[in-house]
Symmetry: C2
Subunit: 321 residues, 2 copies
């Protein structure tokens, strides 16, 4: 590669994971992650996106006490002894990564968290999931639970953007991707690449939603959000059937044009890569999505002034026709 192309091309990998069953040890999982990191590096990637809660099964589907969940599924430090081989391989290969896990803080708080790791295997950023889906009560009639609101607090770090490998990178997690506020908060900080992991059950426990729509919704929100925010997106699933509970795959890399440039084709461990062109995002930011020229924040105030949907605002006189 010439110096010119190195300046704006970036080797991005998304490492989709097949299922992690209850019986799988963290050591076995980390071994799979290391294998995929090595494959990504061999394919010229310098950054790998791993899934949300990558180290364990998607435990919010099981009813248990917070104490049981902490004991089995949360990490007290990152890295820790179980995960160290992944950090060692990253340092050896000079590959950064995003990794999702259940975080227990020193003062006992619980978050659904992702870390950003640089090419020297140093943790340089942390994001805590803001949009926790699901419920906190036991639903004995549901085929499974979705207890993120029981096991996690709402993330308290906002939507930061970090500069790593000379790129402005933002992070989000799973359900965050359905909320346009997530993406806009980062594109307003000049994010060029936004990475996320997800565990998305194929069945909606709240109502009888056709199963194919679960993947469709994942696609349309990633495609539209990449376009509307002029960012590249790398999205990594943990998917397939974990002890009988199926989750969608379709890990993908999406361009600022909204086009899917790489996509996982199965529901097992699978690395997809692309040499992404960061100038593509710049072009969109200079024209159709030149925020400084086109946005009208004075007219967006309701977005921060209301949480839930409410009554229509009183009409300005001229809006009455």
């Amino acid at each position: 590669m010439t110096q010119t192309s190195r300046a704006r091309k970036f080797g991005l990998a998304v490492a989709q994971m097949g299922p992690v069953h209850l019986a799988d040890s963290r050591q076995a999982v980390v071994k799979r992650l290391v294998e995929m990191l090595r494959e990504a590096a061999a394919r010229q990637a310098t950054f790998v996106v791993f899934p949300e809660l990558a180290l364990t099964t998607f435990f919010p589907r099981y009813w248990m006490t917070e104490e049981e969940a902490v004991e089995r599924y949360f990490e007290r430090a990152m890295p820790n002894a179980d995960v160290q081989p992944l950090f060692d391989a990253a340092r050896e290969l000079g590959v950064g990564f995003y990794l999702g896990y259940a975080e227990l803080t020193a003062d006992g708080r619980r978050f659904n968290t992702a870390v950003l790791v640089d090419r020297a295997a140093k943790v340089v950023g942390k994001y805590r999931k803001v949009h926790l889906p699901g419920h906190d009560d036991h639903k004995p009639d549901a085929p499974f639970q979705h207890l993120e609101k029981k096991f996690f607090e709402v993330g308290n770090l906002g939507f930061p953007v970090w500069n790593t490998q000379d790129i402005n990178v933002g992070m989000c997690i799973c359900n965050d991707r359905r909320w346009p506020e997530t993406w806009r908060s980062m594109s307003l900080q000049s994010a060029e690449l936004i990475v996320l992991g997800y565990n998305t059950p194929s069945w909606n426990i709240h109502w009888t939603e056709p199963v194919h729509l679960r993947t469709f919704h994942h696609e349309i929100v990633l495609q539209a959000s990449a376009y509307q925010n002029a960012v590249w997106i790398g999205a990594a699933a943990k998917c397939g059937s974990e002890d009988g509970f199926h989750m969608i795959g379709s890990s993908m890399i999406v361009a600022p044009s909204g086009e899917i440039v790489a996509r996982a084709s199965g529901e097992e461990d699978e690395v997809i890569t692309a040499q992404i062109d960061l100038d593509l995002g710049t072009t969109f930011r200079q024209h159709v999505f030149n925020f400084a020229k086109h946005r009208s924040p004075d007219q967006y105030r309701l977005i921060v002034e209301r949480t839930g949907a409410g009554e229509p605002l009183p009409l300005p006189p001229e809006a009455r026709g």
Copy 2:
């Protein structure tokens, strides 16, 4: 229809228009609109979405003075004598509509405007386009101009929501649809249906964007926005080749599931209809997009605090890894 189904079903029509050439009179255009209104009524619709700037050619493509534009293309009142036949037909048939036009106010201000008209043919709402695309300078080397920033002021009425025909309806216009703030401002006011007209040139004058992406972007922003805001969308194009300048078609009705339930298949005058089920939006609003349960406005403040994209915010200490 039973009383029960009448309560939540709504007959929606989108009236796509083929080209309006420079030589076409307003009277000829209104005759076409009346014909489509009659077809929509015959197909059990009680509301028709017409395009943006429906009464004339898409004049912002031509360089001229503001005075020339006002003289040829702006309306001093709505309705007026030329448009009265459309209002008369609407009253006769009991069909409401959305109509886009260039508005000249009594005090000489110019807006890209749409009116909301009820089943008694009374104007009950007015929206003025907020997100004006294009430029205000003459670009003699471009194949055509896009002078919305010259001919129009930024809309000054916010994003109101009106109750008409027992439904909460919001309006936006063309480029507004690319901006997630548009949709969210209305879904936070419990909009159930959002209607828009558009004139979208098939070529991007700012850079060499593949032509097929123009329709693709239109699709993904409508599909994702319908889903993310749990609203029905009716979107009406003026399309085809106006005096040699081509614009995209693909008028459509999109469900809160993000699915396209009706779509125009050509680039001429064409009415599409659907009996839309408003309960579908309610289901999404009660679960995945229950804003009160899931949104975190405190963490969205940048959306109103910044206009253009800027530097990443200082990192909270815990976000530093």
